[in-house]
């Protein structure tokens, strides 16, 4: 987020210079809107009962993966129902034309799971996949039914790098270990975040105006709200499942 | 108590029958008297379901492959694609032209009314056992052939020649006209092709004598498709043997000698077929110099997801193709409609036909009903990946000699268990809906038939 702000400031500076030089009129309002940008802050809570963990038998590589795995997709962290791992994004927003930065974290195959289980990335970023387990994994990523990547990695095998070309939800599976699941959200703009263990999220430098805000959760589904982002300062928003 | 007993007995019988069906179907699997040509699957290196829903039923791809004279739809591949060749011969690919069907009736139990002398309940094992050999394919681009021979062990045990014809395809342009010459089944492209029912026609059991103009006693009615049956009592073919009312004839004959042409010149939605036959159920030669001819049109709706349907109609004009007992020639004609619908594993098809006899000798009009109709509807569905359940309804509104004619109505149920795609076990029961009606007619004498069959194509 920090690096994105730097870029934005840089662009603001450029825009100002163009504006001062008299070019600012030509690109029109799109450029001007960006001068005013607010922050979106909020929380995501889940008020229902936590579903029981999904316990699956491991049929392959039990010596490393264990006899069974327990998967809890709804991670609640306090009595109020603070929900982590919910992906929050601003919808319908134009790409500000920033260059995508390098991805902060690669997708790891570690202890028979994908880490992070829920990932976020910017279109144009390079996705890196590594296998840290002493067994073979295959990372099978699909986007809208089309295979984005299906690669095998032996223990200590070469990391695999591929540029993310299209925005949208990418599902991640390992066909050899069917209990290994994950997803990667690829956005064509920088306005996205994920809730932490307090259920909170924060998205900075959003162009002012009314924007639909969308919350995605792996098990609980999608919530949407239209939020008026101010020209300066922060706006608070609260999402609650179900 | 008495009521309880009466209720209990049929109930127990049904339960036992059901248990037997379930037991048999769980044992193994197999096919019926299929008309699948495994040679084609071998030649094109594909599985059976590329052309069949379940043998012998065709899926839309199989129908177009058949129409195109055993060539891939829209091509003139000649079936010699990507194969090793020695000159013009494909010597090492004989198996690509040969197919074998083996079917045996494990148990057959027939319940008869005993109203005909000498008839009674019968249980037979291993009869009939059928071995059918096919050789079929394409010789070169747009030239195909088909020859089949059948041996039925336990009956005549003779080698019988079935269909044998040559195809010349795509005359005048792709899919414009496909010609067949020889002995072929005229209704091959009809909505309900005579040779492709899941309910295999069951032959009759006759008692002698079989003299000229004598009608043999039918102990057991033959379970053929009523829509395709001859329908008339008291008709004879030109060699003076009786044409039984259940015999498949005319447009829906298993094989007739002649020439026909079919095609889809306007695209996939419409098919035409026109043909000329010697007629008269004659195996060779033509004692009747006038010909029978027919026309069939078919409309297809087959573009949408998992669904296809078609509707067809035909008219068959006979010309002195039968005789009555006075040795006078009569003409039999048939008009019919048929339809088929497939949705995933549900397959429903049926036909309704009207038969007419014309040119009756004067004086016979009052003793001979010259109009008869027949209807057949079959429905099938795969209920698991191996089990096919089906039912058939047959009604024959008979014509012919008023003194002897009897209509017939039969319902069949069938469970087919596929051990593999080319092997199936069939458990089948057909019962006579009119069995409470009295009389010695064969149409009443057969009350119920139960069988377990096994069939293999390879």
């Amino acid at each position: 987020m920090c690096s994105q702000s730097v870029v934005l400031t840089h662009r603001l500076l450029l825009t100002s210079i163009f504006f001062v030089l008299g070019y600012g009129v030509v690109p029109g309002m799109g450029q001007l809107e960006m001068i005013y940008a607010g922050t979106l802050e909020g929380t995501v809570h889940y008020l229902g009962m936590q579903p029981p963990s999904n316990v699956l038998k491991v049929l392959k590589d039990q010596e490393h993966c264990g006899a069974e795995v327990s998967i809890q997709t709804v991670q609640i962290h306090d009595a109020q129902g603070a929900l982590s791992d919910a992906v929050v994004s601003v919808e319908g927003i134009k790409d500000v034309g920033q260059e995508a930065m390098e991805m902060e974290r690669p997708v790891l195959n570690t202890r028979c799971a994908f880490a992070p289980r829920i990932g976020m990335a910017r279109q144009g970023q390079e996705l890196e996949i590594r296998n840290q387990d002493p067994i073979l994994h295959n990372t099978h990523i699909k986007h809208r039914g089309r295979t984005f990547l299906n690669v095998a990695q032996v223990p200590g095998g070469n990391p695999i790098v591929k540029r993310l070309k299209r925005p949208g939800l990418h599902t991640i599976r390992c066909d050899k270990h069917v209990f290994m699941e994950g997803s990667l959200h690829v956005f064509d703009h920088p306005y996205y975040s994920m809730t932490n263990q307090t259920g909170m999220f924060r998205i900075e430098s959003i162009p002012a105006g009314k924007h639909p805000i969308r919350v995605w959760h792996e098990a609980l589904g999608i919530l949407e709200k239209v939020v008026n982002v101010p020209e300066k300062g922060a706006v608070q928003v609260k999402f609650t499942y179900p | 108590m008495a009521y309880g007993e009466r209720f209990f007995q049929p109930c127990l019988k049904t339960a036992l029958a059901l248990a037997f069906v379930l037991f048999s179907t769980s044992l193994a699997g197999c096919i019926s008297e299929a008309e699948a040509i495994p040679a084609f699957a071998r030649k094109y290196e594909v599985n059976c379901h590329v052309c069949h829903t379940r043998q012998p039923r065709l899926n839309p791809f199989g129908e177009q492959f058949l129409e195109n004279g055993y060539q891939m739809p829209g091509t003139e591949d000649g079936g010699i694609v990507a194969k090793l060749k020695y000159g013009d011969l494909t010597l090492d690919q004989v198996s690509n032209y040969l197919g074998v069907l083996f079917a045996t009736t494990g148990i057959e139990h027939t319940e008869l009314k005993r109203e005909i002398e000498g008839s009674g309940d019968q249980t037979e094992l291993g009869s009939p056992t059928i071995l059918r050999l096919f050789t079929a394919g394409t010789i070169t681009n747009n030239v195909g052939f088909f020859v089949e021979t059948t041996t039925i062990f336990g009956r005549s045990s003779e080698l019988e020649l079935g269909r044998a014809f040559v195809t010349l395809n795509n005359l005048g342009g792709m899919n414009w006209g496909h010609l067949r010459v020889g002995r072929f089944d005229p209704s091959a492209y009809f909505s309900m092709a005579r040779g492709r029912p899941q309910f295999v026609p069951i032959g009759p059991k006759l008692a002698p004598p079989f003299g000229a103009f004598s009608t043999p006693t039918v102990n057991r009615w033959s379970l053929t498709q009523s829509a395709y049956a001859s329908k008339f009592y008291g008709l004879f073919n030109r060699s003076r043997t009786a044409i039984q009312p259940y015999d498949s004839t005319l447009f829906n004959s298993p094989e007739e000698v002649g020439i026909d042409i079919h095609g889809r010149p306007f695209g996939d939605w419409f098919l035409y077929q026109v043909g000329v036959l010697n007629g008269g159920n004659e195996r060779a030669g033509d004692s009747n110099n006038s010909k029978d001819w027919y026309v069939m049109t078919r409309f297809d709706y087959a573009q949408s997801h998992d669904f296809s349907a078609n509707l067809s109609g035909f008219a068959y004009f006979g010309n002195h193709n039968a005789k009555v007992s006075t040795n006078a020639d009569v003409s039999r004609s048939r008009y019919g409609v048929g339809a088929r619908m497939r949705y995933k594993w549900l397959d429903i098809y049926g036909a309704y036909t009207i038969d007419r006899v014309t040119d009756l000798p004067s004086g016979m009009e009052s003793t001979f009903d010259s109009t008869a109709t027949g209807v057949t509807v079959e429905a099938h569905a795969m209920v698991t990946d191996r089990l096919l359940l089906g039912t058939r309804y047959d009604h024959l509104d008979a014509g012919g000699l008023l003194a002897t004619r009897k209509s017939a109505t039969f319902v069949g149920v069938q469970a087919k268990y596929y051990l593999r795609s080319n092997m199936a076990f069939t458990v089948r029961d057909d019962f006579n809906v009119r069995n409470v009606e009295g009389g010695t007619s064969a149409a009443r004498n057969l009350r119920n038939r139960f069988s377990v069959d096994l069939s293999i194509v390879f």
């Binding site: 299906n150 690669v151 070469n158 066909d175 | 590329v50 591949d77 573009q303």
Partner: protein
């Protein structure tokens, strides 16, 4: 509409021929697509469907309970490629499949003339917009076949174990690995899919030569669980050929 388009295409082609300097090749390609459409509707539609979704009236029967059903051309998922995992196939890949067919599932359409096959390839590509946006490239197969010596086969066998091929294909490579037997392998349509029996070459879908095998190892089969081993085999130039030699040695073929 169809006839109109065709005539329109012809008219454009004539125009293109009359004035070759003005984009003659584009006109030809329009005509090529239209001709391809005619062939597609005759030969391919029955399985692949009018809109290319793999939902033609006969598609269901070919793979009602398990893979592989007719390809959905609108998604851009292609099994038989010479390109990296996740890429579209090059035209030659599509042409190869049309020509050779796929054992078990799709007949060979070599009954179409070479020109007609290229036309149908051009039409198939119109179902997915990605073909206009992406330029797929065939990958290098790391050299050429190496003799199938005992040492090569031995090395291939070690790689077979190292790459954990047995998980799916089984220790004896008969397509009976533990993951396969557990029924956990599904294709992109969610249909149960069986790994190939590597001891029986007649069922291999992506070709039976050592070169075909290396290509399959490198590209994987998109839309199926078979992953690409390219990056794992990339470091050691000849390993892919050793592994392919071993796999081919499991089946006897004249």
């Amino acid at each position: 509409m169809n006839i109109f388009m065709k005539r329109f295409g012809w008219a454009l082609l004539m125009l293109g021929m009359a004035q070759p300097a003005f984009g003659g090749s584009e006109m030809t390609s329009l005509n090529m697509v239209e001709d391809g459409r005619t062939i597609y509707e005759r030969s391919c539609l029955i399985c692949h469907g009018a809109s290319g979704k793999g939902d033609g009236p006969a598609a269901f029967y070919n793979a009602a309970f398990s893979a592989s059903r007719a390809r959905d051309f609108t998604v851009g998922n292609y099994k038989f490629r010479s390109t990296v995992s996740g890429s579209l196939p090059v035209d030659q890949d599509l042409f190869r499949t049309v020509t050779d067919g796929i054992p078990g599932s799709m007949p060979s359409f070599s009954g179409l003339s070479i020109e007609q096959r290229w036309q149908v390839v051009a039409y198939i590509k119109t179902f997915y917009s990605g073909f206009q946006e992406e330029t797929p490239e065939s990958i290098s197969l790391n050299g050429s076949p190496i003799p199938s010596t005992a040492a090569s086969i031995q090395r291939g066998k070690a790689l077979f174990e190292e790459m954990d091929c047995a998980s799916c294909h089984g220790k004896q490579a008969r397509g009976d690995g533990s993951v396969a037997l557990a029924g956990e392998l599904k294709d992109s349509r969610g249909l149960l899919i069986s790994p190939n029996d590597l001891t029986n070459r007649t069922g291999w879908k992506n070709g039976t030569t050592v070169r075909d095998m290396v290509r399959t190892l490198f590209t994987g089969l998109d839309g199926t669980p078979m992953p690409s081993y390219e990056s794992q085999l990339a470091g050691h130039k000849e390993d892919a050929w050793h592994l392919a030699n071993y796999i081919l040695s499991l089946s006897h073929h004249e």
